[in-house]
Symmetry: C2
Subunit: 335 residues, 2 copies
Amino acid sequence: MKLIIDCFGGDKGCAPCIEAAQKAAKVYPDISFVLVGDEEKIRAELPQGFSEFEIVHAPDIVTGNDKPTDAIRLKRESSMMKAIRILREDETADALISTGPTGVLIAAATLRIGRVEGIRRPAFCPILPTMNGGIVGICDSGANVECSPEMLLQFAVMGSEYLKGAFRIENPRVALLNVGTEEEKGDDLHREAYQLLKSNPNINFQGNMESRDLLSGKYDLVVCDGFSGNVLVKATEGTAIELMKKIKKDIFSKFIYKIGALFMKKMFEEEKRFMNYQNYGGSVLLGTEKIIIKGHGSSNATAVYKCIEQAIAMQESNLNKKLKELLKSEELANV
Amino acid sequence: MKLIIDCFGGDKGCAPCIEAAQKAAKVYPDISFVLVGDEEKIRAELPQGFSEFEIVHAPDIVTGNDKPTDAIRLKRESSMMKAIRILREDETADALISTGPTGVLIAAATLRIGRVEGIRRPAFCPILPTMNGGIVGICDSGANVECSPEMLLQFAVMGSEYLKGAFRIENPRVALLNVGTEEEKGDDLHREAYQLLKSNPNINFQGNMESRDLLSGKYDLVVCDGFSGNVLVKATEGTAIELMKKIKKDIFSKFIYKIGALFMKKMFEEEKRFMNYQNYGGSVLLGTEKIIIKGHGSSNATAVYKCIEQAIAMQESNLNKKLKELLKSEELANV
């Protein structure tokens, strides 16, 4: 497997990417890494004489202020665009990891890498931990702020196959994010999507879900338009982070609480680990011809390492092969 | 002030409403209460011979399965419809509290009570506590699943005036819920709403907000379409509830954690109180001619009591008078 890493996407420079790649190279010796970015800075992070990684020099950086079309056209020497170009042109390249701006990455992926034939739009599918020890996928979490009912159906199919292939979940329980559980809830988009999901034999559809049930463990995949999916994921992560901050602050407010917290040190460390999104990697982009993983802009080495593991799981899942077969079926071919 | 309570809206029967009304009657002796619902059941909850409350018999109940139009047309003898009728027909009636189904309540409120002239659609504005001890209002949290940019502008104006009047927040900082902070983020609706909010002199607009910042304390009011507002509020509440459940479960998993928790008992009680939505009352419906408060279906007596306090705050805020003045202004009259 050949894995390209855009080393200058995130807020923390190239260090997290290089640390993660070094760790992964030890655990997965069969993977060949291509690191893209300012060569001098990358070499400075590596041990002297280290030659295991291919390094491709790219002096420029795509930032959050770049418009997608401008970045693609004008920032050809940026780490992200060069990484995309390698993924596209090198037939042996399998996957790309980037912690760069979402909008630019999606546009470049769609334009340069292309979609699986029959898929209307690629979609993000991040994974969150549920309270009963399982996981839940959210598709789409923000690649498409405007959606059609047919797109939501495709998100359900792609997400289900991803969970089957990469997480060995046999018959993923799929819910549609809505403002209430009753069938007729929501706007036209969600009412029509409900009917498509309900009648499609490739999906184990369980009905509508309200956002408060995301972490309940009742569902394996939540299908949503990219706007409300983005609101859902960030509200969940944000609330968890803010609450842990509040608890920490409150512990330090009284001596007796500090004593109590000493007894519970391990537990709080575990809660913190559980709620830290860095431990769950990035969002896989489903529906593109090659594997693309988007990490948080603030990713540390642990988060990038998780992205590498996600890329490997995607590779092993054979997702696109299965999608192509499914898309030939009657119920999906004409969507 | 005359306050109507639909006593048979919630999951818990009439007991929470009656307990709350009794408590409020002691604290606010100037309020006259009208309790609507099955008279026999209501009397059974009151001390014998108690005659302070007016009781209006309504044998039927609106349920979550009722379609709004059907409920309004066919369930005329339900507690909600009778309560709405009293609010409409009794000139001295000021406010209504109901924990009944949202969709029916909005439809009945719009059709029977009517909107403030110039307001396109009423909107819910629940209040959540922020992590720095303040509050944040979310408007709309689910009354309107489909919105126009002009509606979002009106939500901003209504929400700002509500926060000024009822919570004494001088110049509420308003944010627009979006998938990113940059001006051009989101779909057409949100991009157009951004421009309207930015150029309106009646609003202290701060730009786009991602859902993860809801509890940060940076904003006093978050403006959103009802669909993503609903996702936002329920995801935030749901995550807080699930996390507290997880922490509680983890404490009981080891003896040493239980010991530690004894030292921190007060703190955990405080966190639990802080995260319990029952303590924050219901959602005020902004933009109707008379005051309407929607409580959670699962409201206990504490939650209903908070709804009563919200109704009082609304009454004191003189919101509608201010809205009518504002709506005459050039920037809002033709929206």
